[in-house]
């Protein structure tokens, strides 16, 4: 090979061998910028998640307070007013009637105390989520059954994991509250079935009723209810999927699948 050709070859190879590191460095910079964006997005998602958890916590507490307010007004308030009326109407001259009224007042007071105890448990309701979803669900059910309007079935299938996820429990509990609110407001149901199933690190949470149901395709978008949209959004935050099945006259069933814990 002629000397000039060799020099040409050396020059070209040298340029290539200098350009190669430039390409590698350029690629690293591009990749690093993507990595930065990814980390920022992750941090943003974490913030959104935390904000949603805080909001959910607040909503659970708010719901508890509303229930307590309503119960104080409708039940305990009435019972105490009746007790007061009964005690006021006692005529000490008529001992037999007075005894009957005192007994009635005692009975009313005992009922008030029972109601107060149930309220006390309800107040701890949002705290119960921390100690386990299943326990919190039981309390919610026992409170709802108290009205006597609903027959509620609750089944747990599969061994629940020893380690729970408080954030997911809280969101699921809030979803349950929203669904039960919808049942009370719109479904005209008499039976509610709740099923919690755990299999292969996946939790299946199913809530069904025998109410009037609805046809989601016929319903205008604005009437589909913030409730259902909220349920989907909340489940999405914890990596879950929601399946809603309903037909007019055939009740509604909401199934949530989430990776757990």
């Amino acid at each position: 090979m002629a000397s000039s050709e060799i020099l040409k070859l050396i020059l070209i190879t040298s340029i290539i061998f200098i350009l190669a590191p430039i390409s590698i460095i350029a690629y690293i910079f591009v990749y690093n910028r993507r990595k930065k964006r990814h980390i920022e997005e992750k941090a943003q998602m974490q913030l959104t998640f935390e904000a949603e958890i805080a909001k959910t916590q607040l909503e659970v507490q708010e719901q508890t307070m509303q229930t307590i307010g309503a119960d104080l007004h409708d039940n305990i308030g009435q019972l105490l007013s009746l007790t007061s009326l009964t005690l006021n109407s006692i005529e000490l001259d008529n001992q037999i009637k007075a005894k009957q009224k005192i007994d009635a007042a005692i009975d009313l007071t005992v009922r008030s105390i029972k109601e107060m105890r149930l309220l006390g448990k309800l107040l701890q309701g949002d705290q119960l989520v921390v100690s386990g979803l299943s326990e919190a669900i039981r309390h919610e059910i026992s409170w709802m059954e108290r009205s006597g309007k609903y027959e509620i079935g609750y089944i747990i299938e599969g061994e629940m994991p020893a380690v729970n996820s408080p954030d997911k429990d809280l969101i699921l509990f809030r979803i349950l509250q929203e669904i039960l609110n919808n049942v009370i407001k719109h479904a005209s149901a008499s039976k509610i079935n709740i099923k919690l199933e755990y299999l292969n690190e996946q939790l299946k949470f199913e809530i069904g009723d025998n109410g009037i149901g609805f046809d989601a395709s016929d319903m205008p978008l604005e009437q589909r209810g913030m409730g259902l949209q909220n349920i989907r959004k909340r489940a999405g935050i914890i990596g879950g999927e929601v399946e809603i099945r309903s037909n007019p006259g055939k009740g509604t069933s909401v199934t949530i699948f989430i990776p757990y814990p």
């Binding site: 090979m1 000397s3 050396i10 190879t13 040298s14 061998f17 200098i18 590191p21």
Partner: protein, 223 residues
Amino acid sequence: MKIQDFITPNTIIEIVCFLIGLICLLNDKNKVWKIFPIYLFINCITELFAIYLRKHHHNNQWPYNISIIFEATFISTMFLKLFNKYFKSKLFIIGGLALLLIAYGYDIKTHDFLLFKNITNDTLNEITNDLMSALFSIYSLSYFYLLLKDERYINLKYSSDFWWVVGILFFYFGSTTLNLFRSEFKSESELPNYITLILIWIIYSCWSYSFICKKWLVAKSLS
């Protein structure tokens, strides 16, 4: 000999880099960075001494053959520090150094170059040099791979480690052509010298910037 004889593009960038290193790394908390200016000083001395020998019509390859020992040691130590952030690299680096030692032993045997016997032999320790280029190129690429795999984000613009390795990759990977075509060079051709000069300017510029980043980062972490 005049002082101007010692001022060449090579010595300028090497002395500048040494001075920047001295200013930026003298108070560095990390020992590996702190002692790095010693290597830069040895480099400067080697270069100046090689110029002196050339001017006095002596063979001037042998100082480089000696400084290659420091080059391999200092750069390997720095890589040891860089890799230790990701994995226990002691064996990896010692293995590399052992290979270089074997190559160096072979080179001095074949060139009959020993410190007190035929010291002024004018043959480059080719195998050591080629192996070192390949080894440091692999180290640099491995470092970049680990950097890409790392989930943590590092602002590379101000990363002293990154720019130090960039300099290494440019120099040792870039000099592969020179290593490959060494036997083809004609003494009258200036092209290899120009390529070497470009590579030297790239490595010392990257290192100087890396030292500035190091100083800046230390200042930032203190504030």
